[in-house]
Amino acid sequence: MVTAVTKGLSLAKEVYQDRGKRVRELRKAGKKIIGYVCLYPPVEIITAMGLIPFRVFGDMNETITAADQVSTTVVCPFLRSIIDLGIKGKFNFLDGIVGAHTCDIGAGLIIQWRDYVKDAAFTHLIDVPHTDHAASVDYFSGQLNSFKRHLEEFTGQKLTDDKLAKAVEQHNRQRQLVRQLYDLRKPDPPLLSSSENLEVLVALFSLPVDEGNELLENVIEEVKNCVNKQVSKKARLLVWGPVFDNTSLYELIESAGASVVVDDTCVGTRAFWADVRPPYDLQSLAQRYLVDIKCPRTYRQSEPAETARSYDKDLESRFNYIRKAVTDWKVNGAILQSVKYCDTHGYEVPNLRHYLDTLGIPSLYIEHDYSERSLAPIKTRVEAFVETLG
């Protein structure tokens, strides 16, 4: 572990505050670190090759300057922040990067990384289809095979079935533990705050899988055994939207008198809800990533003939997992957040709000430009929304 004394929630906070610290140490000891963007590059393959997957985020407090050379301001500010940090050398502890065509800018980012980030020894882009039909899963499985071969070439090692199965087990274990962590916010009051929860998750994206699992076990133990500092609040909210890797939004919402008890974001449940199912091969990875991750970047049309005829059935097939979260976490309001210019999520908002209406869940939509200062004007709206629930 990072230090002998720090563990549990304090370790999570420490890693959250300096994400690169542990992987820098491991790199000095000879390990290779592979950065990945978004949820679609399978971390199991990276771990199985003896490499350490490190999820790349931007920095909400770093003004974007260098990225202006490679893109204009009408582009997703989260991805702009990443390339900005890359050009500035802030990811110099990475031995390579892998991205996926989850959205057009996400794919473009990997090409920019190859061209503009110094010492990018390994860059790889996985093509990801935008529907979850069987043919798409087969195609995606082929893409994962190319990724595997590229990594084999990079490391000079073979990916054996045993190594892959072991890595899948470790990552599945992590997902199971994260779901246990989320169970701790089912009671009223919840046993930990949404900011503490986010710090743990961001730490998981910054540590090797075995260290992450140990952290989770310690956190769950600690939270179950310590005196609960949380108070019961009338508003129990679900937060939805694209990547949010910073505690500022959760702090803002909780200081407005609400508890965030569950989320549907890609730094939260989306990353951990689905396990890889046996037989732990590339095809089952393809199934898990393309079909089982519920992100609006993939259009889920389970019964094409039926959904084509009925708006309500279409909504149900796209969002029924949210109905379950609302029931299980006793949610009574939802905050839909999006980073500016995210058409993937923007397209989904009116439909999702309508679906939430049918569940009797009021919702508030807010937009930010992936900077902490852009959250300030949102504060009054969040407070007013919480007042309407009280």
């Binding site: 009021p362 004007p377 009054t380 709206r381 407070e383 007013a384 007042e387 309407t388």
Partner: protein, 292 residues
């Protein structure tokens, strides 16, 4: 409420981006006094000033006020308030107290515009444009400056025409340039002014339509004092609007009524006396010291 018999007054104070307002109501929520004044740079001093003024008008002392709710942009800067509530909730309450059947309220202030959906007197949904000056009082001020007019003349002049020019830009700065180019084309002043109003109304109505406009619709905020603006809003919306006699103070009025509700809740829970004691020993002293 027996123990409140000698002090059945409640205050709401709304520190907006441009104007500060204060209202005092009695136990029946009837308005006893109100004041309106510019906010300026020093929110705290302004809060004390409007409070002093409204107390003087109501012929009351600070000790006579049982509970104070602050709202608006500067609500955190009212040290003597018992509670802060957002302007959205306060406006909804204030508007509903004047028009009990209201379903939609549109408020255009100095730097923001908001649309409220209200049902049974309660706020149910809302939208605001709080990032950009388009469709706010600031837009009108810029137009007035560009044309060398006083704000109150603008409304009157704009009413002289039925053929407004088209101002396409929704951005305040670009619209200013557009006004200048219409002037240089030789367009008549009333047509340009009417065009400015239509441009603001279009922007705000676009916001309102996202929430589905249901009648009756009430129009409030400083901008609602302008007859030209009311006419433009009615034209663009295609319906009649209800405008309160004093459209600036609905937020402060709602805050005062919510102050009354809060005090009643404390009494019901048997917590009022201890709250009052703490209040008299701390916050009011701060008020009297800082205010003078």
């Amino acid at each position: 409420m027996n123990n409140l018999a000698s002090q059945l007054h409640f205050a709401g104070i709304d520190i907006g981006s441009t104007m500060s307002k204060a209202v005092i109501v009695d136990a029946e929520s009837a308005m006893k006094a109100y004041v309106v004044g510019p906010t300026g740079a020093e929110h705290r001093r302004r809060a004390n000033k409007v409070m002093e003024d409204v107390l003087a008008r109501a012929d009351l002392k600070i000790e006579d006020i049982a509970y104070i709710v602050s709202t608006g942009y500067g609500r955190v800067n009212v040290p003597f308030a018992d509670k802060q509530i957002t302007e959205l909730t306060c406006h909804a309450r204030g508007v509903a107290s004047l028009f009990p059947d209201v379903r939609t309220a549109i408020d255009i202030g100095g730097q923001d515009a908001k649309v409220l959906k209200i049902k049974n007197g309660r706020l149910t949904d809302f939208l605001t444009n709080d990032k950009c000056a388009a469709g706010t009082g600031r837009f009108l001020e810029v137009a007035a400056e560009t044309l060398g007019l006083e704000l109150n003349e603008m409304g009157r002049i704009s009413m002289q025409t039925d053929t407004p020019v088209k101002i396409n830009s929704l951005c305040t700065i670009f619209a200013q340039q557009e006004i200048i180019s219409r002037l240089s084309e030789g367009q008549p002043l009333p047509d340009i002014l009417a065009g400015v109003y239509i441009a603001i109304a279009t922007r705000v109505v676009k916001l309102a339509r996202q929430l589905k406009v249901e009648t009756p619709v009430v129009f409030t905020g400083g901008v609602a004092k302008n007859a030209g603006m009311v006419k433009a809003m009615e034209t663009v919306l295609g319906m009649k609007l209800l405008v309160p006699q004093e459209p600036l103070i609905t937020g402060a009025l709602g805050a005062a009524i919510l102050a009354r509700d809060q005090a009643y809740q404390l009494v019901q829970r048997g917590e009022y006396d201890s709250h009052r004691e703490k209040k008299l020993s701390e916050a009011y002293i701060e008020f009297t010291e800082k205010g003078s």
